[in-house]
Amino acid sequence: MTTTTSATRTVVTPGAPARRPRGVRKAHEGSRAEATTAWLFLAPFLLIFLLFTGIPAVLAIGASLTDMSARDIRDPLNVNFTGFDGFAAIIGNPGFQSAFLNTVLFVVLCVPISMGLGLALALMLNNGIRRLKTFFRAAAYIPVITNIVAAAVIWQYAFSITGPVNSVLGSLGLPEPNWLGESGWAITTVVAMGVWRTTGTCMILFLAGLQAVPEEIYEAAATDGAGPWRRLWSITLPLLRPTTLLVTVLQTVSFLNIFEEPYLLTKGGPLGSTKSIALWVYEQFGFGNVSASMAGSVLLLVLVGVVAIVQFRILRPKH
């Protein structure tokens, strides 16, 4: 990908305008016919991409700077420009603030738990057992591909006050919590479902990372007398660093965007205790506050971008 630019750089003489000699250009950029073919082949994708991702992203930022409401959806250009007033308003809004804190709580709980479980599964499956590997891997992976609406229906049934979970707890003489109706328990249930749904992804990515770690390193370490924990800490984890970085970023981004679990399980309740930023944004759209909804989603976009960049900076492999 960078070959074009680096080749160009070498032929530029100081003081002369940066112009590619004909021969070089031909070799690296192909013929005009090739370019036409390329754009034709890209056209269907680009059309959909612009219409449903590119333009909406620009529109979202635009709408967040206006006073757009539900009435304006049929005539979206007829709105007043209000600058950053919408952002100031939602940052001071207690509902948005609590949604922000709830989202941070989901990230802080779900990311480490799902990654820890996923890594443990990957380590055990990679070289901890001999048989049934495919079965265990499939079992941990099925929740990932499960339809979220179906999953939520199942969880609502299982964790209802008189449901199957509590009937087991009751018969064991344990307390039977109101899983979905009490703040602390509702957060626990949403987190549990988030972990259940994403552990399989972490496992697969860690497995792929582990397969790149050469077996000989372990054998050398074992002959040097390093125990299993020592090998994990001093060899596996450092070598897995790029994978860990990737999984951390993917998981953090996905839980910053958490929507379906709270929307379907608890509607964000009780008393807004499980309402995430994404769910708040969705609700504002439902109330007709389009500009507030867009300002919230732009803030979420900024948050996601900043967190991703910071994580790449901190966790990047050291040279």
């Binding site: 990908m1 630019t5 690296h28 950029e29 090739e34 370019a35 073919t37 390329a38 754009w39 082949f41 890209l42 994708f45 991409f49 449903f52 991702t53 590119g54 909406p56 992203a57 529109l59 709408a63 499956l125 070289n127 901890g128 057992i129 265990f136 499939a138 941990a140 992976y141 929740p143 591909i145 339809n147 979220i148 609406v149 179906a150 939520a152 229906v153 199942i154 049934y157 299982a158 209802s160 199957p164 009937s167 087991v168 552990t199 399989g200 990515l205 077996e215 372990y218 999984v247 910053l256 965007n257 929507f259 379906e260 930023i277 994404a278 909804s293 989603s297 979420l300 976009l301 996601v304």
Partner: protein, 275 residues
Amino acid sequence: MKTLSPTRQAFNYTALAVITVFMLLPFVWVFFGSFKTQGEFLANPGAWFPETFQIDNYIQLFRDRGFGDYMMNSFIVSSVAIAGNVVFSAMAGYALAKLRFRGKNVVFPLVIASMIVPYVALFVPQFVIVVQMGLVDSLIAIILPVLTLPLCVFIMRQFAHGVPYELMEAARLDGAGEARIFFRVFLPLTGPGLATVAILSFLTSWNNFLWPLVVAQSQDTYTAPVGLSVASQASNSISFGLLLAGAMVVLLPILILFLFLQKYFIQGVAATGLK
């Protein structure tokens, strides 16, 4: 392969078995729960297993609750999405990996960057656009945003890199045109990539929820997940048995495909990791 002590293996098997039980419990609940009758839910809501296997819930679901139509809508949406993604992402991936043109270094980074944009930032503007196009409450509106997914283009670009230039050049010297090279040389060599894209676009379109929820405004356009979610919102008037049967019906196509094509499902995730 180094040796594993029996104690360590025993520990690992136990730990894996425990985790597996927790991962699969919801499927046990939904399967057995879907056969419990309304009366059983009232009398003994916490029972894990039905007294007898009654299929009343399934019959009601399809006869009285319109689930047949919702499933049909979902099948239509997913079929078109699979076809669109396979064809269009193969074309785009080919162009991005194998053809040289000005602007390539702008298009690809844009596609990658777009993948981190939160979906909640996009659905309102998408809705505005669909309203302007006069497509609200149509299956076309549900399909369009998933017709060619950036992730599928990314995957096909990865697979396209594996196709040797020499084969394409040889075909070109034989006088083959670009279209012919694409169909006769490129496509046959990217089978596993196409399969991965097909599975991934099936999953994305079948499980798509927020967008169809916003854009499907009458029962004629409900997809199965939207129908299920709307029914569960009215859960005071509808029994868990019906909802669980609905959940089973929504899950079955995914589970059946997974049983046979596990490899491609997992390749799809591994591919997201390559980002």
